[in-house]
């Protein structure tokens, strides 16, 4: 197997610089890392360390100022805006701290949402969403609106949405940030279980007790990886 096929994510000298007034702030400052397929990696660091920026760059929501990033073998710099949208709908699945579900849709429709933009027909979308909700123990909630769900259930629904496209990597940005400790622990157990099933997971957190569930922990500070 070539490295191309074994690596889910590969970055080299990744830098992201913002202008804040007259001064430039480096959110990422030469990050080089690899995530192999099937790995569960946690990125730890205090707020402002650049860990969310790293995730956004991998998700294709943000372009790096310099350096490059490959996800599932694809160089994101080569993609235009529409290409990046395709990247988000096919190769990566994102889970946010704020859940980011659409309140006017049923849970099953929220889960199926990414497939709309991938051009999957309605019947297949719904079937795949239901199967995934079933697998995550959420099938009884499929027809509910999101305002009828608890925080733990919302985040499970969000994970289902992130996984529905069969992504090469699941990107989770502080997924337990809005959950109580019991629900947070359950969520981490779910990520663990998904990873044992072969799902590559990249988790961003500032909480060491969460991070220790990962197979590997990377520390970020001031936009740099600490060894």
């Amino acid at each position: 197997m070539s490295t191309e096929q074994t690596l889910a994510v590969e970055t080299r000298d990744l830098a992201c610089t913002y202008m804040s007034g007259a001064t430039s702030v480096a959110a990422l400052d030469g990050v080089t890392l690899t995530v192999r397929r099937g790995e569960f990696v946690a990125v730890m660091g205090p707020s402002g360390s650049g860990k969310s920026t790293l995730l956004n760059v991998i998700a294709g929501l943000e372009r790096p100022t310099s350096g490059w990033v490959r996800v599932d073998g694809e160089d994101l710099a080569a993609l235009d805006e529409a290409g990046l949208a395709g990247h988000r709908s096919k190769r990566v699945g994102m889970v946010f701290q704020a859940f980011n579900l659409l309140p006017r849709y049923r849970v099953v429709d929220n889960v199926a949402l990414p497939l709309i933009f991938a051009g999957v027909p309605r019947a297949e979308r719904t079937a795949r969403a239901r199967a995934l909700l079933d697998r995550l123990g959420m099938s009884s909630r499929a027809e509910h609106r999101t305002n009828e769900l608890s925080g733990g259930e919302l985040q499970r629904a969000a994970i289902a949405r992130a996984l529905v496209g069969g992504p090469a990597i699941l990107l989770a940005d502080e997924p337990t940030g809005n959950l109580d400790s019991a629900n947070g622990a359950a969520l981490i157990a779910l990520l663990d279980e998904l990873n044992r099933g072969g799902q590559t997971v990249l988790l961003v957190t500032h909480d060491a007790s969460i991070a220790r569930h990962a197979g590997r922990i990377m520390h970020l500070r001031d936009g740099k990886v600490l060894d």
């Binding site: 929501l61 805006e81 529409a82 980011n100 659409l102 709309i116 933009f117 051009g119 309605r122």
Partner: protein, 418 residues
């Protein structure tokens, strides 16, 4: 993104904020209704005028007059139409027939008494004015001499009814003074009598005084009246007019131009109709413009609503983009939503405009029962399609900038938007 999904998703967005969508749509509906109503009114009026013109005569006809058109149209100079000119007319392209006419001096049908004053028109067989209006008998035919086709009112003066007038021998007194209505017109020259046989009677709706006689007879009578020979009359005075028939009404303008190049003024109903069309085009344009202002206001309403909607849904746009919506998908969603405003508003506006026209028409007829029975408001298929298309176009144009704004929104900052 599939078209069906786009349609379903944007319909959901359109139907979500009911009151706002309803108000925006109402704006488009009123604008469209106004456009429909005003154009239907203009179309109805135009149809009415055109109908009246078509009832006057044949659109394929060009009438040449013995004048040279002046520079400003007012200073026409007399110009003789002789047989040389006529043969030039025959050579013009798309000419199906050329008919000479010579009007003899005024006169009367002696048997009909003082009321039977006439204008003898010397015409050729099958001339456009001598077609399809008979009450009895026949039209003029080739080789006819000493015959006449007379109007019904004069036939009834010389015989008990129009059929009884056929075959009757009467005297045409041509020249001298005649009585037209209540006034006596001092006619030209010395009156002379010509015996003619009535071969046809035409409907006097066309004319109550014209008597159609063979061209040669008219020329002889005219020559006698002025002490000339028929041949010299042809050369010096020329014909009173020429009727040129085009093979098709679309070629009339070309024939008119050729006649003018030969130095003669001409008249054609077709050109009148074209001028009326032009006039109504302007009229319709003005009315459509008034309706257009209403649509413009509606468009501003749509744009405003869409801007609000984009702002309100910033976070949703961020989520859609984060899960894989391409910039084009986001734009399409908002444009489709605007299109719904146009479609629903356009259909409602059509109904409103049509029904409004019917109601106004009924009220007008109720108030004035003698109103012309032709429809006042005419809504044709082109107006239906045009108005609907315009409503959708206006909505799309209004939605374009807000949709582009949504498209260009950064997913990250949209997700952070509270």
């Amino acid at each position: 993104m599939r078209l069906g999904d786009l349609a379903a998703m944007s319909l959901g967005n359109y139907a979500r904020s009911r009151l706002r969508s309803a108000l925006t749509t109402a704006g488009v509906a009123i604008g469209t209704a106004l456009v429909v109503l005003l154009i239907a009114l203009a179309t109805g009026a135009e149809n009415n005028v055109r109908r009246s013109i078509f009832s006057i005569g044949d659109l394929r006809l060009v009438t040449v007059q013995p004048f040279q058109p002046g520079a400003n149209g007012l200073s026409a100079v007399p110009r003789t139409i002789d047989d040389g000119v006529v043969s030039q007319f025959r050579k013009i392209g798309h000419v199906a027939g050329v008919y000479r006419q010579f009007d003899a001096p005024l006169g009367q049908v002696v048997e009909g008494g003082d009321d039977a004053a006439i204008r003898p028109q010397g015409i050729e067989p099958n001339a456009p004015i001598d077609r399809g209006d008979l009450l009895a008998g026949r039209h003029l035919a080739l080789g006819d001499r000493g015959v006449a086709v007379i109007p019904g009112n004069i036939a009834r003066l010389v015989a008990p009814n129009v059929t009884a007038a056929i075959g009757k021998l009467v005297t045409l007194r041509i020249g001298g003074a005649v009585r037209l209505g209540s006034t006596r017109v001092g006619g030209s020259g010395t009156p002379r009598d010509y015996p003619v046989t009535i071969v046809g009677v035409f409907d006097e709706a066309a004319s109550q005084t014209s008597v159609r006689i063979p061209l040669e007879d008219a020329l002889v009578a005219g020559a006698d009246n002025r002490g000339l020979t028929a041949d010299s009359l042809r050369q010096q005075t020329g014909y009173s007019g020429i009727a040129i028939e085009a093979d098709d009404s679309t070629n009339v303008a070309e024939i008119v131009r050729s006649v003018q190049e030969l130095g003669y003024s001409s008249f054609s109903l077709k050109q009148v109709v074209e001028q009326i069309d032009q006039g109504f085009g302007v009229f319709r344009g003005i009315l459509a413009g008034i309706g257009g202002v209403a649509l413009l206001v509606a468009a501003i309403g749509i744009a405003n609503t869409m801007v609000m909607s984009v702002l309100e849904r910033t976070r949703e746009i961020g989520i859609l983009k984060a899960v894989g919506a391409a910039p084009g998908d986001v734009r399409a969603l908002f444009l489709a939503e605007a299109a719904y405003v146009g479609i629903v508003g356009g259909v409602l506006g059509l109904l409103l405009g049509y029904l409004g026209g019917q109601v106004i028409e009924r009220i007008i007829r109720e108030l004035n029962p003698r109103t012309n029975p032709a429809p006042i408001f005419v809504v044709g298929p082109d107006l239906v399609l045009g108005a609907l298309g315009l409503a959708i176009l206006v909505a799309l144009v209004a939605g374009f900038l807000p949709a582009r704004r949504a498209m260009r929104m950064s997913a990250l900052s949209a997700l952070r938007y509270e």
